[in-house]
Symmetry: C2
Subunit: 120 residues, 2 copies
């Protein structure tokens, strides 16, 4: 008989809503082309298991970003299995700048609300 204890931050948090696109863009800008599964694993590493991106969120997001012209996709066969590598386009780089600026504003605003004693 096993009892599972969910440690704090196991990504039940709704705070990550809206941040997936920004995360994907930043990773691709940083690392060059990546495939979907690789993105989920990288994020898991970076957040020490805290944030587990679900396939049901990831793949539709990638498709949408490709449709928007922010990413290109190239299928490659590795070990007799297909991987779809995504790379960022010039428009995607512009979008990245905007998204990161939005994120900065968001973080600053949350600080202003949560920590109103500090000035910015």
């Amino acid at each position: 008989m096993y009892i599972y204890i969910r440690t704090l931050g196991m990504s039940t948090s709704q705070l990550y809503r809206g941040s997936l696109t920004t995360i994907i863009l930043k990773l691709l800008e940083e690392n060059g082309e990546m495939y979907g599964y690789e993105i989920t694993q990288r994020v898991k590493e970076l957040t020490q298991g805290d944030l587990n991106i679900k396939e049901g969120a990831l793949y539709p997001s990638l498709h949408k970003m490709e449709a928007a012209g922010h990413l290109t996709v190239t299928a490659k066969k590795v070990d007799n299995r297909v991987r779809k590598y995504y790379d960022i386009t010039p428009a995607g780089k512009e979008e990245t700048v905007n998204r990161l600026a939005e994120l900065d504003e968001f973080l600053a605003n949350m600080q202003r609300i949560i920590n109103p004693k500090l000035s910015f």
Copy 2:
């Protein structure tokens, strides 16, 4: 003929999704009882007009938090108009601690992804 230019950060950003409950709890913990409209104005001030909480999001949120036992409500008549003042309960204070811890984790994780060169 008027042309409206939306300045950067006019809260079109999806990043605020999931943060409303945390914001309300923190404000009530900080300031004591507040009424709905007051909360929207305080947030607008704190974020310099950047974040405008919509009534359609605010009021259902307040009702839900009250139903969860995190807030109490008291109707008061001011200038022949009804205001509903919300105050935080002991359970609400516990919830506030948890929500703020979640927010800290979220902010730290976003930093790890967006700024992987820094160590935490």
